[in-house]
Amino acid sequence: MPERRTHAAGETVLETKGLTKIFGGLIAVNSLDLKVHKGEILSLIGPNGAGKTTVFNVVSGIYRPEFGEVFFRGERITGKKPHQIVSHGIARTFQNIRLFPDMTCRENVMAGRHCRSTSGLFSSIFRTPGQRTEEDMIKGTAEKRLRQVNLWKSRDDLAKNIAYGSQRMLEIARALASDPKLLVLDEPSSGLNPRETRDLMAFLQDIIREEDVTILLIEHDMNMVMGISDWVVVMDGGRKIAEEGIPDDIYADQRVIEAYLGKDDEDSTAYDVPAEH
């Protein structure tokens, strides 16, 4: 088990203040305050429908919050468009993998470079030297990331044709290709077998160690959560039910156990709705 990195060590990378997202009459995220510090892995856990994915979608700009603010490295990014948020340095993956199925793995990873390149219509048509250099850089980064996740050999295969576990890694490689400061992973281990999960954990730890990146994670696999998180935040019903703590404390927290096991008559179906939107 790696040594824990401490809060004090890093500046705040991501901060949400009173973040609230409402769907129809349903409060999916209820004035959530969250802080993610530089260089750490923070896991967001909670039962289905707790509003975790909604938090991700608000942070990455897919949803606009009703109330509250999102700050990224001190800058207010509330209500910015997804594509703008990527260029600020937040890259994400999706709960149910969203690759570009009919394009090659290499092209998939090159997508991550889009926000870091600038060639326009005319330089692309006339193949200006600048554009060519940039293309080489895009391809170079893609190669580097593909090699990192051991998919260089599949570079010319269509994304839909590679194994499920590889697709998960490809999506992470794509997110990493934009050189993000914050990597937001939505259940990266779901559908992976134990070996693949172990590889994934090792990979994430390598990344954290070697690169200037912070990771925010939604995860259901408790082994993984306990294994790699520096901090854990538990959500239920759109609220934070336990202050962020180290995994062992959270594991013992009575409220967390209740949230997961249910207190008999809590209308847990109501929670399911927001994530569907």
């Binding site: 994400r92 570009f100 090659t104 997508a111 326009g120 391809k139 170079g140 260089w152 050999k153």
Partner: protein
């Protein structure tokens, strides 16, 4: 069997070059072997290829259902017709102007509707195409000549040095434009813009989450597609020397849609095949008189039955890439 990637590239490249050289040779020699009638058929084949290429950007590359593309074609043709007959502006000057007018029109009209998804975009573009056609018929500001259209359009010329007025010269004009367009579009396909279009087609949400401003790229596709359709309109107008609204009906939009889908979405050779099918088939089957459209309809159904992805779909991953980082050409990481 050991497969060396470099060999693969070499083989592919040389056969590709051979094909292009052969095709170019055939296209250069062909018009000198046949009568003007067959040159004209090849000319209209060129027009449909250009139209197919222009719709392919929107429909094939980005996956936007545009069933009103004839509207842009019409804007290009009428811009040429009106400015040439009213102000005597030379056709070749109007070539970029028509493209610009169609592009501007696309920008203004598509901006508010670009967020619509799938079939809703389809019906809105269809409505837009119909609005253009109906407006042309109704002769707004006495500009479009109503159902009669505009007549007396010039042929393209550059002073006394370059005069394009025979079938042969029109043939070369349109295929030169098609050739340049193909060159440009092939380059775009292999650039961050072309890829961005494809990302949007594959999964718009994921594309956005990867930093692609899908709204701008979709608009760009419409604007560029419209500009090319405008160019086609310019050449068509000067070739026919007159334009009338019946040339820009909903049916023309349907034909362009079919060109892209018959050939294969996003595939440039596919567009050429689709355009060949659409423009040559009815001519070849002319002797069948009133049965020819029956055959045409059946052929469309059969093609989709046996080649639902198109006759010549774009093959991704066919070209094997070598490493940029290692420089040795070894492919195994």
């Amino acid at each position: 069997m050991e497969r060396t990637p470099l060999n693969g590239i070499g083989r592919l490249a040389s056969s590709r070059q051979l094909h292009i050289a052969l095709a170019t040779a055939v296209f250069l020699i062909y018009p000198f072997l046949v009568s003007d009638y067959f040159i004209d058929i090849a000319f209209y084949f060129g027009i449909y290829t250009l139209l197919g290429l222009s719709l392919n950007i929107v429909l094939g590359e980005v996956g936007l259902f545009d069933l009103g593309h004839a509207g842009f074609y019409a804007i290009g043709a009428y811009t040429t017709a009106i400015l040439n007959t009213k102000f005597g502006i030379p056709i070749l000057v109007l070539l970029p102007l028509s493209a610009l007018a169609a592009a501007l029109f696309a920008y203004v009209v598509c901006s508010p509707i670009i967020h619509l998804q799938g079939d809703y975009l389809l019906i809105v573009t269809l409505g837009m195409g119909e609005i253009v056609r109906l407006a042309l018929i109704n002769n707004p500001f006495d500009l479009t000549g109503g159902p009669n259209g505009v007549f007396g359009i010039d042929f393209p010329s550059l002073g006394p040095w370059l005069v394009i007025d025979s079938s042969l010269e029109y043939y070369f004009l349109i295929w030169l434009i098609v050739g340049l367009t193909i060159l440009g579009l092939t380059r775009l396909q292999d650039s961050r813009i072309g890829r961005a279009w494809n990302y949007i087609r594959e999964d718009e949400t994921a594309a956005n989450a990867n930093g692609i401003d899908s709204r701008s790229y979709k608009l760009l596709a419409f604007v560029l597609g419209a500009a090319l359709a405008g160019v086609a309109g310019n050449v068509y107008a000067s070739k026919l020397m007159c334009v009338s609204p019946e040339s820009f009906s909903f049916w023309e939009s349907c034909l362009m849609f079919c060109i892209v889908l018959i050939g294969g979405m996003g595939s440039i050779p596919g567009v050429i095949i689709g355009a060949a099918f659409i423009s040559l088939f009815p001519e070849i089957f002319r002797p069948f008189a009133m049965y020819r459209m029956l055959i045409f309809g059946s052929a469309m159904m059969l093609m989709m039955m046996f080649r639902p992805g198109g006759v010549w779909p774009r093959k991704r991953g066919a070209v094997k890439y070598e490493s940029l980082l290692e420089g040795t050409g070894r492919s195994d990481a």
